[in-house]
Symmetry: C2
Subunit: 463 residues, 2 copies
Amino acid sequence: MINEDTICAISTAPGTGGIAVVRISGTEAISICNKLFIPHTKGKDLFKQKAYTLSYGVIRKNDEDLDNVLIALFHAPHSFTGEDTVEITCHGSIYIQQQIIKLLVDNGCRLAHPGEYTERAFLNGKMDLSQAEAVADLIASTSAGQHRLAINQMRGGFSNELKTLREQLLHITSLMELELDFSDHEDVEFADRSELKTLAGHIETVISHLADSFSTGNAIKNGVPVAIIGETNTGKSTLLNVLLNEEKAIVSDIQGTTRDAIEDTMNIQGILFRFIDTAGIRETHDAIETIGIERTFNKLDQADIVLWIIDSSDAGRQIEELSGKIFPHCKGKQLIIVFNKIDLIDKNLTTISERLPESVQSICISAKHKSNIHELQDLLVQVANIPALSSNDIIVTNIRHYEALKHALDSIRRVQSGLACDLSGDFISQDLRECIFYLSDIVGEVTTDQVLGNIFSKFCIGK
Amino acid sequence: MINEDTICAISTAPGTGGIAVVRISGTEAISICNKLFIPHTKGKDLFKQKAYTLSYGVIRKNDEDLDNVLIALFHAPHSFTGEDTVEITCHGSIYIQQQIIKLLVDNGCRLAHPGEYTERAFLNGKMDLSQAEAVADLIASTSAGQHRLAINQMRGGFSNELKTLREQLLHITSLMELELDFSDHEDVEFADRSELKTLAGHIETVISHLADSFSTGNAIKNGVPVAIIGETNTGKSTLLNVLLNEEKAIVSDIQGTTRDAIEDTMNIQGILFRFIDTAGIRETHDAIETIGIERTFNKLDQADIVLWIIDSSDAGRQIEELSGKIFPHCKGKQLIIVFNKIDLIDKNLTTISERLPESVQSICISAKHKSNIHELQDLLVQVANIPALSSNDIIVTNIRHYEALKHALDSIRRVQSGLACDLSGDFISQDLRECIFYLSDIVGEVTTDQVLGNIFSKFCIGK
């Protein structure tokens, strides 16, 4: 068991700040810190402090003061990890942060692996695996939607749903297996088959609903994919920059925070959009150019929304030449035609718009003069059609969970067909057990060390 | 007074981390946080919690959970600022950090200005101005030397020294002024002039010693300036990269910390060196090239140490041609001749080294093969000649303090010459008051709002 070591790490963001927090967890956490800490109030060492208190004092190294610190104390099992935990709040210089970590390591701590605090919380039964995974999602969340899904999952919404399902499945299984024990007596049928069918049908509906929610969950977590296409020089990159700058302006309203630069991803009205860059389309007979255009069309396949940017001063020709190529690639997608450079023309585009198929929406903007940009954003949000989620909605956002749900769905469907054709109880029971296995995998009850290693290695150090 | 507002800011480093800390300070700190916080233990609201305790619970926004948080409580005057203070430890997502700040602002907090917490600590008498300035130095410190000076200053070493000086000066002043009150009685001389002379001499020694310490303090704080010069293609930038990489390797031993990239500044054995880049020197008759070389020599003036890099395979010629130009520019500096590419030659350079002036040190290295780099580092540390400081040494590191000390020194020297030529008490008294004024300026007793504004605006937000 890895739980024997006492681990330490800087838990706040890397770099210089006003303050930083170093977290120490494990059986020796309090005794190691107590050796290094001189409390401000004499005699008040950490062993004499109650849990959930703060102690002010000095961390000393080789008889020299390293820093004035606050020490927060947590006693097992009432801490995040479930172990004895000490959090040292120090001044946020990189030098001090490094020195405190060095000092802790010199005194018997081990540097924590990425996600090791959360892994310990999981191993010590403080949360299940889907909740632990939600901790990483919560920290990575940059939009209201991502945040809401992560916090709901972390608080156990999804886990409770799975627990109910597993209880129902176990109920059927136990009835089926009781029946098997009495299989000599042909006429015994503990499990009322029609009741079983109803229950299996209900479980299938719930699992399939959860699996279906992944497309919404994925759009919220990874962003709604939007392709921007059009001829060269229609203003695609100007538009992208305008949209990105709008967002930056909002973000920088709040001082003291910086934004991780994610190329071409932006948050519009709480919904994350992921913009897919494409090469400009040109009518060409050049073989190499044609390959480039093929690539552009292939990229369309990844998109849910397509923004086709058209230079308004030349709208008729572009629509005539390209519609035949673009429309077939946009089946099942939301296509928005964006008439850019609207300031350059005086006629209006009503006649052109009217000739477009009904499924195609259009909007007139000027990226350069930033006119109608908010209307375009509204339109994007509208066609993204992300359902308004309440904090209680259960939405699957994790591909590992989605895959387990797909397997569980296959199993429960085999149960259903088994019941339908009166298959013998032992076959059905095996499919039921398989379904339970996949649901248990999500909460980490049957998960292998390798899978655990995979999950936690993606966390940041210090969490 | 600015102290009426309740202020909030993210106090940990900007960006995503495992956790982040939001600090709220002011009379409304507890009541504002209490409105947003649902404690895990029912009924245990923040007003019922003792100071120096942690409360676990949830921050809510519009009936939705924003995050699970820990709340640390401090009651005035027993906090960093001296005011009621709440520290919210939340998950370190940028989204959550922003939302908590927004929520606090919506509920009556104001965003803190840079350094405003420390400014309040100063205004509320928790520390004097030189201690407050040391907080910023402590956070910015990247080497053991910088750190030691900052923590000593923060803990009041310098302030105590100044306090002693001011008490002595006030003692003289009061005697001088008492004398003035009785100036009608010609023979009254309360202040024993020879005693005054001794005391003024002592004060002059201490102030002058403090002012002199600034050259050491400045070298420790801003780095010892080192110019690397030499002909083109002698390996100057290879050497610089090798030195920088050595340091990076040491720094990255400690996981979870990143280093602020400071171009060409490096920490060697706890001493900071600041490398000054120069253009390669070439023998030339071209007017423009000559200007470039002039610039190189001008840059030498900023350096305390000069590393002259010479290609070993061509050492004799380079020394012959350039010595006459370089040596005169290195008066009062430490010149080290670095014979690079030592691997390319089989003869040794003893005869050349022997012809160098005694004051010039030399070393043979290969930057490319990283041989003798540690010896070069040792040599740099040796010639930097930074005195080994104990934690009690008082070293001036701040240019504002240095300038005030220079003024104080002028004043006390005028006092000395006044005493020497039996100047009347009222003139001497005025110089004494001036000396006290400048020393008081350092600890912030007579400092103007504008100076305060200048000082604290250089802090980071959240401290």
